[in-house]
Symmetry: C2
Subunit: 170 residues, 2 copies
């Protein structure tokens, strides 16, 4: 291999390493996978978190939803702690609402639509009630315009429940 080729190879390797450094962060998430404004990323293992409650969203969204909570959030619900402590994270999973092909009166989850998170950090998110928001579609964060709507609605409608809509399903 000629020296010029070796040099080109070295440059190529260095470029790849730089690219990797740019897109992989210390927490293992890809850069660009964090939500605009808040920098919320998809937490590892959230699909295994405990159930807080299900919900249904009418058309046009027409979704079945479930809110799950990490252990800090679940403990706060069980104890009735408000405001939620730092470290609490809520996950809202949503699917299209489709008829069951096997049992007529039932509707079941179709395709996944969005996964959304609320992360409590009273310092980092002091200007939004202590909550950071992240809305993801196919694992990618929604745009900044969508994220601008989160806090205003939560603040207007459920300020007295620490800006959290979901109650523990009894």
């Amino acid at each position: 291999m000629k020296p010029i080729h070796l040099a080109a190879l070295a440059v190529a390797i260095a470029s790849c390493a730089l690219a990797a450094a740019l897109v992989v962060r210390a927490d293992g998430m890809e850069a660009g996978s964090a939500s605009p404004i808040y920098g919320v990323t998809i937490p590892n293992g959230y699909r295994s978190w405990e159930l807080i409650a299900p919900a249904q969203e009418a058309p046009p969204l027409d979704e079945l939803r479930v809110v799950l909570g990490n252990p800090v959030a679940v403990q706060a619900y069980r104890d009735g702690t408000l405001p939620f402590p730092d470290g609490a994270v809520l996950a809202k999973l949503a699917w299209k609402h489709v008829p069951s092909p096997e049992f007529e009166p039932a509707s079941i989850p179709g395709a996944a639509t969005t996964v959304q998170f609320m992360v409590k950090d009273s310092r980092k998110y002091a200007v939004t009630g202590g909550w950071g928001f992240g809305r993801f579609i196919n694992g990618k964060p929604a745009d900044e315009a969508q994220h601008r709507t989160c806090f205003a609605c939560h603040q207007a409608r459920v300020r007295d429940h620490d800006r959290v809509f979901t109650r523990w399903a009894p």
Copy 2:
């Protein structure tokens, strides 16, 4: 205290002990808390099990539902194992479906209605596809007539999915 009173007291104590022995079983559940036909009881800690999927039931039941699974069941779903292995337990929690007072397009859980279980034990429940069924209302098992309907419907409609309606929500 006269001897006759002591004897009466001894009889009373013995009677209480006998009554206690009759209503408390080895697993700590009250006798009478097991489902008719199948003898299924409410498993400890089921409210903390992992989410399999939510569902909605149309009127007249008009319910929001969630199916949770114990670790054996969840592993079977994740691995695509059919039939479900012995030890798998599924829990279906149901609530009345009520409008959210805080967000018009949403419906949320109202009062809890039933909690139902399917318990896989291929020997004990050999004549019902390996599944035992339990349907509970306010912690008490529903009557035998209700339990007679479980297997026939599951067998007729979802035999090919090991008599389980619910699929893993993606």
